[in-house]
């Protein structure tokens, strides 16, 4: 193979101009990206890219299994992941039982927020993860045509909350995981009913706005709050891992450990029966 060996080895003015044109093209593409046609084009490209990458991923999966399970460390990691899932499921069951007890007192409020179709789910496969560094988003193979809508909660292993749908296409949707830096959901500490806001930190979850002195301890479960109607109440977010209180602060620093292993999500449940804010809208600004 001979690749144009008569050309000069260092870039000419034409070459530099060509690279400069690429930069200009990038800026132009970015400037045009708010246009609806850009969304349409990217969706069309996604319809080609996602299956191609998914096929490559399926082909490589057996190799990945062999590599990831090679050696004791990998085996222990896999066993640990399995045990974590099991603990997550058990804790979810426990949390559900406890929540049922609490729900006797708060059933009316929670039911109103959850809405009548809260038990309707659809199973979705995780097609790809967002390749942009720092983002924790998943691409699912279900979209508007399958009843998925923006704002619907997505559950991972152990029926714990994994994230929320943020974008929807005809047959694709994008989910922002709880650990994403742009994620924020209303939460409540199950034992003390202390409310807070669960923010993603990139690799974990932080519960903010928990007052100093609130009854919260490591091991407490954190659930979603129906406050605001953006999520149904009672979904398990995670477990409090550390609580730090400093006198000079207004709020305690509470870190929450997710019970689902977000890095290994392959299938999720989308709560297609839930309509964010439906209860509030129907209430017509009830007190």
């Amino acid at each position: 193979m001979r690749l144009d060996e008569r050309r000069p080895s260092f870039p000419t003015k034409d070459g530099i101009a060509r690279l400069s044109a690429v930069l200009v093209a990038g800026v132009v593409l970015l400037a045009l990206s708010p246009l609806p046609v850009a969304d349409d084009l990217e969706a069309r490209a996604g319809a080609v890219v996602a299956p191609a990458a998914g096929t490559l991923r399926d082909v490589a999966r057996p190799v990945a299994e062999v590599v990831l399970r090679a050696g004791q460390l990998r085996q222990l990691t896999a066993e640990n992941a399995g045990l974590r899932n099991r603990v997550g499921r058990l804790e979810a069951d426990l949390a559900t039982l406890r929540e049922q007890q609490t729900a006797i007192d708060q059933a009316a409020a929670l039911t109103d927020a959850v809405g009548p179709n809260a038990q309707r789910f659809t199973t979705a496969a995780v097609v790809l993860r967002d390749p942009a560094p720092g983002r924790q988003l998943l691409l699912l193979d279900r979209g508007r045509e399958e009843g998925v809508a923006i704002g619907q909660p997505v559950l991972g292993s152990g029926a714990t909350l994994a994230g929320v749908v943020v974008e929807v296409g005809a047959h694709r949707s994008r989910v922002r995981l709880l650990i994403d830096r742009d994620s924020a959901v209303a939460g409540v500490i199950q034992s003390s009913r202390t409310p807070g806001a669960a923010f993603g930190t990139g690799d974990g979850i932080r519960l903010d706005f928990v007052p100093l002195g609130a009854a919260v301890a490591a091991g407490d479960h954190v659930l979603t709050s129906a406050l605001g109607g953006q999520l149904p109440g009672g979904l398990l977010i995670g477990r409090v891992s550390t609580v730090t209180e400093r006198r000079e602060d207004l709020f305690a620093t509470v870190t929450v450990e997710p019970l689902a292993d977000f890095s290994r999500l392959e299938h999720v449940l989308v709560m297609t029966g839930f309509t964010p804010g439906a209860g509030i809208d129907e209430g017509g600004g009830a007190p």
Binding site: M1, L3, D4, E5, R6, R7, P8, S9, F10, P11, T12, D14, G15, I16, R18, L19, A21, V22, L23, A25, G26, L29, L30, A31, L32, S33, E42, A45, G46, V49, A50, A52, A53, G54, T55, L56, R57, V59, A60, R61, V63, A64, V67, L68, L128, R129, D130, P131, A132, P133, G134, R135, L137, V166, E167, R174, R181, G202, D203, S263
Partner: protein, 167 residues
């Protein structure tokens, strides 16, 4: 034709990165940035301007599956070609001195990867994540540099060479 070849390599690298590679890594940051390795390795071993089409097509793969737009990825990938260009400009001997050229490919890839991560973090409003995930990012940059060196070695037989009078 050459630009198409590099573009095909870069698109394949992007597909591998968003597809199979995600099975081996738990975080996009922790994985090697394969299109950057292709652009840097090819750009230093041969010519940086031959990667112009790759700089436009590889981002389409990323933009199609990411919340970030294609234009952001084009701009984020571009500095890699610029660093490859600079590295190539500083070594005008067509035959080149192999180890030096390979080090240049690794350096261009490392600098390009650093710019790529920084620009995407800025675009996504996650600048603080650079500090908190510095160690992971450095590992990814190092792996990308090694991958770029491998690409440069692979492309090396087709580097531009000084032709003799009767060749």
């Amino acid at each position: 034709m050459i630009a198409l070849t590099v573009a095909a390599l870069a698109v394949a690298a992007a597909l591998v990165q968003v597809g199979p590679l995600s099975l081996f890594t738990v975080d996009a940051i922790a994985s090697p940035l394969l299109p950057i390795a292709v652009v840097a390795g090819w750009g230093v071993a041969r010519r940086a301007d031959e990667t112009w089409l790759a700089l436009l097509l590889a981002p389409v793969v990323f933009g199609a599956v990411s919340q970030d737009r294609v234009g952001v990825f084009v701009i984020a990938l571009w500095p890699t070609a610029a660093f490859a260009l600079l590295a190539r400009q500083s070594d005008r001997d067509p035959a080149g001195y192999t180890p030096r050229r390979l080090v240049a490919a690794a350096a261009a890839a490392a600098a390009g990867a650093a710019c790529y991560v920084t620009l995407l973090a800025v675009a996504g409003g996650h600048v603080a994540s650079i500090a908190t995930q510095a160690r992971t990012i450095l590992v990814a940059i190092a792996i990308t540099a090694v991958a770029a060196t491998a690409v440069a070695v692979a492309v090396w037989p087709w580097r531009p060479r000084r032709r003799g009078l009767f060749e």
